[in-house]
């Protein structure tokens, strides 16, 4: 990449990061309590909530890992993104009303708070918080790694900047992220999400056309190249095959209703009835961004096969390499800012969730009360989590961003779909069933990952964990006597 091009890209990224810092300063003045810090004062409008919901979901996993997976496996990973309309429907049909109402009724400031209110169980609160914390550390580390990888690519392409290490890039990325999260809490997070969501939509549309035009013969040429090389890659299941790809179907649809960084946004909107217009904003925005996920991956695979681009060392380089070598400098600048947007919009949500688990949920579950001076400790925990997650990913096994992301997604899905998405809609669900479902999901998910268990046909380990946790949840609840619910909770569940 020549210097002028590199400088254009760098300018866009610096402008974007400066905007994030500015939002942090602005939000600092509006954040005066833990309720503001974790729940944005429960005052978000339709557009802000809608874009925050989808941009939290389209993370570095989608913008960096997604194209990488398509490059590597063809259309297999389309089963993660093409199913997103049903995923958002799961979130809204199952949670937009009751989760929001219970949040307001009990003035909850976190998802485990709402779970404790629903089941009347401190064990349920504790297990939910632990599941969130475990998922957050891995998932957040992945986001920070993705952000540092992209930043290093950008900085190392500017000739007058000395070679920058991945650790330095992680430090820069963490500093900006932590600054606006610590100062402005979730308020800064959702307002940057608004800008980030807008950037991501614009970037995805332009990149889609750039990707199609980068390959000789346009879309037809791209498809013909892929069919000639490997017909399976451009089939609906990709190289992973039918059963493996389809195992992502339920994990990424129903699993959407178990993603804490997504569903907690529904506890923050101003009015319950806003959900009606929030769903189309979220589902539409995500569908447009899916174009980037699919088009860059397919274009890079076709370009490498055609000899129009050298083979990638790591599939995660698909998006950065495409932007550096096959997109105009302004488009590359916008999309690199979009990449940062996608990563940071998810990372900030995770910082917020993790901080709530550490300073609010776990102490409450164990001692019956929150920490004194909770707002101060929430800010301190935000810093600690960012540094801890960066260290975790730096010194742990490195894998593709998307595969780590898929693991994080599955962890949340298997643990929280039964407890939250189903349990908030079924009065018969018991606390014991919820606790068993969460514990089982964590044991199975982490067991498969830690012991390297290979499931036949490439079936996703998270699918197995989700299937088991849901089956146990329904089975135990059906054979147990109906639980006694608090009368206000029962009244809300009857609405």
């Amino acid at each position: 990449m020549d210097d002028s091009r590199a400088l254009v890209v760098l300018s866009f990224v610096i402008a974007y990061l400066a905007m994030c810092v500015g939002v942090g300063v602005w939000a600092l003045r509006r954040t005066t309590s833990t309720r503001d810090f974790f729940m944005a004062g429960r005052d978000l409008g339709i557009l802000v909530t809608g874009l925050a919901v989808f941009s939290s979901q389209m993370s570095g996993f989608g913008f960096v890992g997604g194209p990488g997976l398509v490059y590597r496996m063809g259309l297999s990973s389309a089963w993660m993104t093409v199913v997103s309309p049903l995923a958002f429907c799961s979130v809204f049909f199952l949670l937009a009303k009751r989760l929001r109402m219970i949040a307001e009724l009990r003035d909850t400031i976190s998802l485990p708070d709402a779970v404790a209110a629903r089941y009347g169980s401190e064990w349920s609160r504790l297990l939910t918080a632990v599941a969130i914390l475990l998922g957050v550390i891995g998932y957040l580390g992945t986001q920070i790694l993705a952000m540092a990888t992209v930043l290093r690519d950008i900085l190392n392409n500017v000739s007058f900047i000395p070679e920058v290490s991945i650790v330095t890039c992680m430090a820069i990325a963490c500093a900006v992220l932590v600054f606006y999260c610590v100062t402005g809490g979730i308020l800064a997070s959702v307002y940057t999400d608004l800008v980030q969501g807008g950037i991501m939509i614009v970037a995805a549309v332009f990149v889609f056309f750039a990707a199609i035009n980068a390959v000789d013969g346009g879309l037809t040429g791209l498809v013909t190249t892929l069919v000639a090389d490997d017909p399976e890659a451009i089939s609906p299941w990709g190289t992973l095959g039918m059963l493996g790809a389809m195992s992502w179907f339920v994990v990424f649809t129903l699993g959407g209703a178990g993603q804490p960084h997504v569903i907690t946004k529904l506890m923050m909107n101003r009015r319950v009835e806003d959900a009606r217009r929030t769903l189309p904003v979220s589902a539409g925005g995500y569908a447009i961004c899916s174009l980037l996920w699919l088009s860059i991956g397919l274009a890079m695979r076709a370009l490498v096969i055609q000899g129009g681009h050298p083979e990638l060392v790591n599939p995660d380089e698909a998006a950065p390499q495409f932007l550096q070598f096959h997109a105009g400098p302004i488009l590359a600048g916008i999309v690199f800012a979009g990449l940062f947007a996608a990563i940071m919009s998810t990372a900030d949500s995770f910082l917020n969730l993790g901080a709530a688990a550490v300073v609010h949920d776990i102490p409450r579950a164990l001692t019956g009360r929150s920490l004194a001076n909770e707002l101060f400790w929430a800010r301190a925990a935000t810093v600690g989590l960012a540094v801890g997650s960066a260290a975790f990913v730096l010194y742990s096994r490195q894998d593709l961003v998307a595969l780590l992301g898929a693991f994080g997604w599955s962890t949340f899905a298997a643990a929280l779909v039964p407890t939250v998405a189903i349990g908030f809609n079924w009065k018969r669900a018991t606390a014991t069933a919820a606790n068993v479902a969460i514990a089982t999901s964590l044991v199975v998910n982490f067991g498969i990952e830690l012991f390297g268990v290979t499931v036949p046909y490439g079936i996703n380990g998270g699918f197995v964990a989700l299937l088991l946790s849901m089956t146990l949840f329904f089975g135990i609840s059906l054979v147990s006597p109906p639980p006694r619910l608090d009368r206000d909770i029962e009244a809300v569940m009857e609405l």
Binding site: R72, G74, A78, V82, P85, L86, S90, F93, L95, L105, T220, V223, V227, D230, P231, E232, A233, I234, S235, P236, T239, L240, G241, M242, L243, G244, M246, S247, F249, V250, L254, E273, A275, R276, L279, P280, A283, A287, R301, V304, E311, V313, N314, P315, I422, N425, K427, R428, P456, Y457, L467, T471, L478, D486, R487, D488, A491, V492, E494, L495
Partner: protein
């Protein structure tokens, strides 16, 4: 379908058991091995692809007919059961199902038909030498991206249309306000 006498949770439980059984069948069937995929050198499990023979950073699907030809029915059952579970769970979130269950079921059937067409045309794709492209995509992929994907927006439209009538009615909002007022006044509600 959240009524005390509702049978929906039982139906969902049965669907989950059916999915567990399907998974057990998948495990028992085992992956089809092939020598072709590895250049004839060794037997490899072909179910989830192999490393690309020319580019090590890519995977290769191998011979689709060998790995999927006798497994298409399992894939269809696997996909349809998941879809039924998803639609059933969506219905669990609807308190007044009568107005919504028909359109929700119809949307599920449309999405299921798209999935079925993907599998039917995929069989032809496996057998054909040169696939016919439909709007630049092979037929099964066209059903996937031009049919299955947009068909899901039927459910989004249903949510918007049925929202005030069946999902969050003005009566729900009034009743919630009463519950909230009672709760804040220090009482309980029922």
């Amino acid at each position: 379908m959240n009524d005390p006498g509702s049978k929906l949770p039982v139906v969902l439980f049965v669907l989950l058991l059916a999915l567990c059984a399907t998974l057990a069948v998948v495990f028992l069937l085992g992956e089809i091995p092939s020598q072709e995929a590895a250049g004839g050198g060794e037997l490899v499990a072909l179910g989830h692809g192999t490393t690309h023979p020319a580019f090590s950073s890519m995977d290769h699907g191998g011979d689709g007919f060998v790995r999927h030809g006798t497994r298409l029915w399992v894939g269809w059952v696997f996909g349809v059961l998941q879809l039924a579970l998803i639609v059933g769970c969506l219905a669990l979130g609807v308190r007044r199902p009568r107005a919504v269950q028909g359109p929700l079921l119809a949307s599920g059937i449309v999405i299921g038909l798209m999935m079925t067409m993907m599998i039917i045309t995929y069989r032809g794709y496996l057998e054909g030498a040169t696939p016919v492209l439909f709007w630049s995509l092979p037929a099964p992929t066209a059903w996937f991206l031009y049919g299955f994907w947009p068909a899901q927006f039927l459910v989004v439209v249903l949510y918007v249309v049925a929202f005030s009538r069946s999902l969050v009615t003005p009566g729900d909002l009034r009743r919630f306000q009463e519950i909230l007022n009672t709760s804040r006044a220090g009482g309980t509600d029922g």
